[in-house]
Amino acid sequence: MTTYLLRRIGSSLIALWLVLTLVFFALHLAGDPVRLMLDPSASEETVAAFRESLGYDAPLVVQYLRFLGSVATFSFPDSLRFRVPASDVVLEKVGPTAELAVTAIIIAVAVALLVGYLGAQARRGWVRALVTWPVSVLQAFPTFYLGVVLALVVGVQLGWLPTGGSGTPAHLVLPALTLALALVPAIARTLRASTVRVAGEDFVRTARARGLRRSEVVGRHILPNALLPVITVIGLELGTVLGGSIVLEKVFSWPGLGQLMITSVVNRDYPVVLASVTFLAVVFIVLNLLVDVAYGLIDPRIRIGARGRV
């Protein structure tokens, strides 16, 4: 287990270092970041003073090390728009985004359980068609467009839910549901495959032979085992969750990190972009690591396999 953990942490660190280096060089090699942040008409003195205040007059290597240090302590320059440290601006918006993402994942697993299980159990062709057709069409929907369509139908035409903003639980429903629907295909597909595989195992046959009721066989023997791979899929789909929530925050004007990031890009508030990209990258990589480790803990074959085979 220790070897497995160390190996996994090692590749996470490489990914982290890669993304930080990418961010740094994108910022410094693509042009002069100081001029990007300031008005084009700013005088030479203003530019020089601003450059010095940001520490951008130091050699690139020093700046690079300083940047890595600032990431470690999560301290970034002040936001140009809000005049407070960019890290504060970012941390303030973490709550709403986390709320959206977690709610969506819970809904997605519930829906996928139903769809995947029905798809695996259905012997009749039309039940399967009923399950697989909508999912396969759903897959062709860009997440933002799904949000717009749901806003139009459920929000505007039916008038059941607000189409944007935040404050009440009702505001969370549409964005979370849309994000969940974006996750369903991948989870349902895995669940379907693993259900079919587990249902063919010896212990399921034994359970049946012992005369257990169908609901008991499914609930106690098939589902718990079939659910294992879902953890991996959620880990792999964290990118979808992240990308989806950024886009959906715009669709439903949900006041989270995505919204903040996009407005900061438009307003050229680069410290905030820098802080939010770094923050999300770190969170994303750490979550991925946790998912893999959790999977290794639950299923000993993974960690033994990692040692024995390579």
């Binding site: 996994r8 693509a30 042009g31 860009p142 505007v156 295909p185 990118g239 715009k250 999300l280």
Partner: protein, 300 residues
């Protein structure tokens, strides 16, 4: 997990490889229950039609997609014979904007698959054949790339390096190359053990020659399948980024941008935001049909 996925001992039938690798499997769609032949024909037909309609847009619809007619604002589809699909919030013809709006996403999608596919396949063949340190370094790089969400790479590069179409292609290609890399690498790992490669080595063929004449042809089919699947991903990513305002800027017609612009008028003129999305869905759906049919065929 990472180690399991890339373990050389996992080499199997290349098509099975797509099914066994969780990352590659995630790129596959849940297919509609159609026979592979029918799905292929429908997919190719639909995508071909869309490509023709968007690329030939200036010939098919003579109306300028940028031409505003403030006397005909937000006409519903069918209300005016001159504008069969209606007009938008400033009186521009929807049909013309819809067809023109597909040109950029299709071009960006195709170019990024080409760039990402060429890079990933080449590196994958090299890694699989060379093995050792080269393989380890390249594989770790691919893993690291996969660990980075495309959206963050996109926001970083497009913010600091500029929001240009070529940067958009680079961003999408960066998200796609690891898939090609893995597919090619694992295929080469099994091919290089085959007798004809050993024979070529025995006859004194150079490494370059073995890569070019024996290994590249072996991955050709798989690369085509992967490229098809990657094209639908590229279309989705490209339209998402333009929706966010990170791609092409107004007033240029573009499916993603049109949805974003029309969203304000959802309550009064639903067609402005919803029609452009249909274009994206049809293109992605058709591509998925083709990809699934190709996998089915390879499997048989």
């Amino acid at each position: 997990m990472t180690d399991l996925r890339t373990a050389p001992s996992e080499v199997a039938d290349p098509v099975e490889q797509i099914g066994a690798d969780p990352v590659l499997r995630a790129t596959r769609s849940l297919r509609p229950p159609l026979p592979a032949g029918a799905a292929f024909v429908v997919g190719v037909g639909l995508l071909g039609l869309l490509l023709l309609a968007t690329l030939l847009a200036p010939l098919l619809v003579p109306t300028d997609p940028l031409l505003q007619d403030l006397t005909k604002i937000a006409l519903a589809p069918g209300a005016d014979p001159a504008h069969p699909l209606g007009t938008d919030q400033v009186g521009r013809d929807m049909l013309s904007r819809l067809l023109h709006g597909g040109r950029l996403p299709m071009t960006i999608g195709a170019l990024s698959v080409l760039v990402g596919g060429a890079l990933g396949s080449l590196l994958g063949v090299v890694a699989g054949y060379a093995g050792g340190v080269v393989d380890t370094v390249l594989s770790r790089l691919a893993d690291a790339q996969l660990a980075l969400p495309t959206i963050l790479v996109a926001i970083t590069l497009l913010t600091f390096a500029g929001r240009s179409t070529s940067n958009l292609v680079v961003v999408i290609a960066l998200g796609g190359w690891p898939t090609f890399f893995r597919v090619c690498r694992s295929q080469v790992l099994s091919t290089r053990e085959r007798a004809f490669v050993a024979a070529a080595v025995a006859m004194g063929a150079s490494r370059t020659r073995i890569v070019l004449t024996h290994l590249l042809p072996a991955v050709r089919g798989l690369v085509v399948v992967t490229a098809t699947l990657d094209f639908s991903r590229a279309l989705l990513v490209a339209s998402g980024l333009t929706y966010l305002g990170l791609g092409v800027q107004p007033p240029h017609p573009d499916w993603g941008l049109m949805v974003a612009e029309g969203q304000t008028y959802l309550a009064s003129a639903w067609w402005i935001a919803t029609l452009p999305g249909v274009g994206i869905i049809l293109a992605v759906f058709a591509t998925n049909l083709i990809g699934d049919a190709l996998i089915d065929r390879a499997r048989r």
